[in-house]
Symmetry: C2
Subunit: 266 residues, 2 copies
């Protein structure tokens, strides 16, 4: 497999998709809801996903594609090469803010993350990684993470997970909030993972993410030493929706052990 060629190809597709998204602000954007009233999708999410899929299917016919908007393949196993794509991660921000959303793409080979990309379109910040070769932001090497300290850490966590919820004991989450230095919530998992990779926040926690939200970011963040898992401490789920944490290596175990109490949801 010529991964360098795939890397150049993917970069070029993502850059063109970013351009298409930027010019979409001059068109009409249709907003629809999906599973629930706050799960939004637009014609632009769909068009961008179709743009990716039509190219990848033509040029890499043996590869599978798992896309948020469902135009890709039904992916039930990680065998072979799988592209995991979120054409617009942070659709609510795309609609409300016209910023703070990203294109997220991870390319896996038999379940191993080979190439990861996050493109913060409106900031024109392109994060990428090639397995074992380090992570980059706009072609500048991202340094390995230095050990963080929880008391001085900034954590990406949405207020929803500190309110009563069906996933975790929210009182333990409140303890975490009171222990760390501060919390932030940007509304795009891909951007929050990019922030962990660059040390701008020290951990990011969510109760409900899909493979396409995390696939690209995990490859990037692991190159600088960040540790990812679901909230049971098992490998992050690339085949279905699950809880998720990605953190500075000095914080991952402590947060899981001291502050996460999963509710029994069976």
């Amino acid at each position: 497999m010529d991964w360098s060629r795939i890397d150049r190809y993917a970069k070029s597709l993502i850059k063109e998709a970013g351009h298409r998204i930027r010019i979409s602000f001059y068109q009409h954007i249709d907003i629809e809801t999906k599973a629930d009233a706050n799960d939004l999708v637009t014609n632009i999410d769909r068009e961008i996903e179709q743009f990716f899929i039509s190219h990848i299917k033509r040029d890499f016919p043996g590869h599978s594609i798992l896309g948020e908007e469902g135009f890709g393949d039904e992916v039930n196993s990680l065998k072979g090469v799988v592209w995991m794509l979120d054409p617009i991660d942070g659709t609510m921000n795309f609609i409300h803010q016209k910023r703070n959303f990203a294109i997220s793409l991870g390319i896996y080979s038999d379940g191993i993350g080979m190439l990861g990309y996050i493109y913060d379109v409106m900031r024109d910040e392109f994060y990428n990684a090639f397995r074992g070769e380090g992570a980059y932001l706009n072609d500048e090497r991202i340094p390995a993470l230095r050990k963080a300290n929880l008391e001085e850490a900034v954590i990406g966590v949405n207020a929803s997970w500190v309110a009563p919820n069906r996933y975790v004991d929210h009182e333990k989450m409140a303890e975490l909030i009171h222990t760390c230095r501060g919390t932030r919530s940007f509304g795009s998992a891909a951007i929050e993972i990019a922030y962990v990779a660059t040390g701008r926040v020290d951990a990011y926690i969510s109760m409900r993410l899909a493979p396409w939200d995390i696939a690209g970011g995990m490859i990037i963040a692991s190159e600088v030493g960040a540790v990812a898992s679901n909230l049971e401490g098992k490998p992050a789920n690339l085949l279905g929706q699950d809880t998720f944490i990605i953190a500075n290596p000095a914080l991952h175990g402590r947060i899981l052990h001291d502050f996460i109490r999963l509710k029994d949801r069976t």
Copy 2:
């Protein structure tokens, strides 16, 4: 009073201060804590405030200056012309992220907001307003806010205020979180107020802000119809630390009435 001259002067100072902050990343940054371990200040916050104050004192000797870092005047009344300055709003972001902080300045005449500025330094986004003349982002007019609907609103609120706290009933805050479409937290009051003014978020709530955090933003946001107050519904406090809400005009009353239950702190 030649307010147009003061406007040109203030803009120019802020732009130069932004430049000084950007180049400060190539220098050593000393970090200290203030009132509590998470209330941070750096030598750059101090240098930037002194830069402002030395110029304003020289060129407008009759004006008072209230600055976050304490190099200005002791301001106990809003008589005369008062400049309210936060040289770096979002110091924690300045330190941890090198982005998502702002210079915030409001100029008041006998308590009336005349000129407001928020400069998101790293995005190079300059928001400003001249009383009665509308609000601008990089010299483009910001349109008046359209009525928002709470069920489709995005609210800026930090997870701390949804965790148990000494200011408000956190269970009612959790209800608010569950009623609106989503929440965000960027970690700079000035930037969050700028987001309200541009309709990117529909409300911003905090339990503990100082006059310099809100002075510039209130002038900008009021030009597009946003409504500000403390959480009792009284005018926002320009002389001391207080609770704060700024919101789309269709949401301000409903949030206060239905979701804010202040604790008795006497």
